[in-house]
Symmetry: C2
């Protein structure tokens, strides 16, 4: 089912180039405030893995679509991710000074600008999702799909998804969560938007109902695996490689998988999730090689 010869590194590099070029292009739009655009650009164009847009594109390709079908929506997902990082890094939240190897937005600019830059990226993401960018969408079939994607992305990143996760994360500092609550927190905080990224690609790429469901399950599994791997990295990772501080969770007294079930069991859990994800895309053949490779990469990465 999975092609061991598939070259993930080249695949990621090619997609990241395309995504970065498109993000750059989107940010050339005029604004009456140069400062807000500089701040948006600072955080958005810092080197990132571009995991969410890559997943969106890879899911579209697995479902029979093309990169062109979803390039702009994919970029919108990266904007939502970046906005969440900018706000999470604020002094009132995680108070981080380093992100993607650069000063965080409020350090490079100031708090007010960082709050507004995050707001602006979130808002821009919905503009992009609602726009018929470069006429890549076939109008007659895709308006209801586009509305479905906007709604799904909003739910995943909103008060029943990512924002609930961040709020729970803050609320639970200093208290010990059980593994059930931790799973809800982790899925909300990170998994929901990852799942939505895969879902969006599957829908806009023209997947069948069954394919969309399979890809969504894949997204759900790797979304949670990603956050478990992040917890492990926070304990074991090298800040220089990660481009951000390590051991922040322990400093902030957060419940994490390693702290709740131990580091070995956390590794086993992440591996189980990735194996489930691989099963979800079993029927796609070679077309899901990138998704399979990304699933494995998620628990093997060092940043």
């Amino acid at each position: 089912m999975n092609n061991a010869m598939f070259d993930l590194k080249s695949y990621l590099f090619a997609k990241q180039q395309k995504i970065n070029k498109t993000l750059d292009k989107i940010l050339t739009q005029e604004s009456n405030s140069k400062r807000i655009v500089s701040a948006m650009r600072h955080s958005l164009m810092a080197s990132g893995k571009r995991l969410r847009p890559v997943l969106c594109i890879a899911a579209a390709e697995a479902a029979g679509g093309t990169e062109e079908n979803v390039l702009y929506p994919a970029c919108a997902l990266e904007m939502i991710h970046t906005y969440s990082l900018i706000h999470d890094d604020l002094p009132a939240m995680d108070n981080d000074e380093l992100r993607r190897g650069l000063p965080t937005c409020h350090v490079a600019f100031d708090e007010a600008t960082a709050i507004l830059a995050g707001d602006a990226l979130l808002t821009l993401s919905f503009e992009i999702l609602a726009s018929n960018n470069k006429r890549h969408f076939k109008k007659e079939i895709n308006e209801s799909k586009r509305l479905d994607v906007i709604k799904s992305v909003a739910i995943a990143s909103g008060f029943r998804g990512m924002i609930a996760g961040q709020m729970m994360d803050i609320e639970s500092q200093g208290s010990k969560l059980d593994s059930n609550k931790l799973e809800i927190l982790h899925f909300s905080k990170t998994g929901a938007l990852i799942e939505a990224s895969v879902y969006s690609g599957a829908v806009l790429g023209g997947g069948s109902r069954t394919q969309i469901e399979q890809l969504k399950s894949y997204g759900r599994n790797i979304g949670l695996a990603f956050q478990v791997a992040d917890d492990i990295l926070d304990v074991e990772g090298d800040p220089k490689v990660m481009g951000k501080a390590a051991r922040k969770d322990a400093d902030l007294d957060k419940s994490t998988y390693p702290s709740v079930i131990g580091i070995e069991k956390s590794r086993e859990f992440a591996e189980k999730l990735v194996n489930n994800a691989l099963k979800n895309i079993d029927s796609f053949g070679n077309r899901s090689d990138p998704l399979a490779a990304i699933a494995r990469y998620i628990i093997e990465r060092d940043k």
Copy 2:
């Protein structure tokens, strides 16, 4: 053209009741974080004029549509307005402690919660705009209109609209703007979302191209008039009536219409804008009575 007998007070009261009921209903959705919903509710359900949703409904009615066509989208506009207030009130921005007669969100909760509650209301607004709420939309004709509205609202509230205005407002503190720059700032900060509210109502209410253009111009004129009137109120208003602090602009050394062109010329300018707005809706007959009354109210209100 305008019916002097039209009872604006009753009209506003009836619409506000309906809007508040709908907002309340939307906020009963489950979340894994009770705290985030409490904070959203605190700011959203505080007594507000509901100007933007009322304008959306009134524009829909003027264009031949009904309240039911636009009730949910109208509520989405109030959510965007409320999110902008929550973020603008933050210590890093205007540092306000009182809003709509209640403690601001970060005072009632804390800064992290207020940032997230604002983010959540913004995100929820796009979920609502993308949702086929209660099947009030006729699917076949309205999907492209709904996408148009999402895009227009995102542009009006994003980095080329409201957020640019807030950024310019902060950037210009301590420096004197000329009246041209002040108009750009004011239109961006307040006018753009008001214009988009009227536009959304006109589009979703089924207005003709000409009607939509006329209503949009009306929205543009009253949007700017509203901010000029706000500047005047900040100088002359009673904090007890307004439910928020007065004389904040002078304290923060902000450029305002009264500080740039004087209070009398500001009044004349606001009146001119409202007269232009009344001309824009001249051809609608009685159907635009509410819009005409709201235009006059905007410069006659005491809060």
